[in-house]
């Protein structure tokens, strides 16, 4: 189909549209003030719109923007998790734990301090604790309950005198 053919056809369709619209307008009823009054009188008896405040809903552009934001966040998260481990380690080197922040993990976990062997109580550090699962904690609890307990002297501790 040539461009001129297309133009002629579009013109014909446009003319049909205009004629149909004009014909409908010729037949349109006149505005009736009486009918309007009747409608408004009926509306006065109708219950007010529920809510009373404009309802804010998500329009299509807002939905699209939200979807893009969620997808972007998701993609960034996946990239962060999937990137090479070397890079991750290089970016997040393990922090050294100074001796003065050593914690008594068993004391913390079990609430017992008096009867624990000192070397057990002092040799575990937060990074090691981070690797403990609930199961290993249960195992530790079991062992401590099973092993005979004895008073600890400061001289028994590693590095003690």
């Amino acid at each position: 189909m040539s461009e001129s053919d297309h133009k002629i056809r579009s013109n014909e369709a446009g003319t049909l549209r205009q004629r149909l619209r004009a014909e409908a307008e010729r037949d349109a009823p006149a505005f009736s003030e009486a009918l309007h009054e009747r409608i408004m009188a009926r509306l006065a008896q109708a219950p007010a719109p529920v809510g009373g405040q404009p309802v804010m809903r998500w329009s299509p552009p807002m939905r699209l923007a939200a979807a893009v934001a969620v997808a972007g966040t998701l993609a960034a998260g996946i990239y962060w998790m999937m990137r090479p481990t070397d890079t991750r380690i290089a970016n997040n080197p393990p922090r050294p734990t100074p001796d003065d922040v050593r914690i008594d993990v068993f004391t913390t976990a079990l609430g017992r301090s008096q009867s624990l062997p000192l070397h057990l109580a002092t040799d575990l550090r937060p990074p090691q604790l981070a690797a403990l699962t609930e199961d290993s904690r249960d195992l530790a609890r079991f062992m401590l309950d099973t092993l005979p307990q004895w008073p600890v002297r400061q001289s028994d501790a590693p590095g003690g005198t």
Binding site: A13, E25, A28, P29, R38, S59, M62
Partner: protein, 197 residues
Amino acid sequence: VTDDQDNLEQLSDERLAALAQGGAVAAFEVIARRYQVRLLQYLRRRVGRQADAEDVLQETFVRAFEKLHQFRQGFPLRPWLYAIARNCAVLHARRPRLVSSEGIESADERTAGLEEAESRQRLWEIARGLLSEDQYEALWLHYVGELKTGQVAAVMGRSWVSVKTLLVRARRRLAPHAARIYGLDASSLEAATTGGT
């Protein structure tokens, strides 16, 4: 008050709807005034009698007012109003009433009606006799209601494709009559039936 009314009449349908949602009845009154003629004309063609159309129009505005909180801001108001009007017309048609033989016409009477409509150059009357109810309604909503194809689909509760098909078939069937009445080229009209939506 008149100044306020004038100001309201300058506002778009959607802004008026937002104000009405906030409790401004005057804003809804402007909407009712603005759409009285359009919707009444649509309903008159759907339900037939003027008195019935007026009743359905009143029901339409009452329902729109009550359901105003459900109108989504950011969407056009016109298709929403047409959809409510259509639902009210459908409910009205379901009500039991006496059926008269006046509305039932024979095939001969229909043909005579088409010829008469053509002689009077009334394409909408021809469309009434020639097209299916859905084709006629889709054509009306599209041309006179000035709704886009997607909006017509939403009003009629159909898919975009099915409304597009209705429009194409309606124009194709009307093309020879339109050509005779308006002096248009029938072949061009038929070929152009896929455009203009």
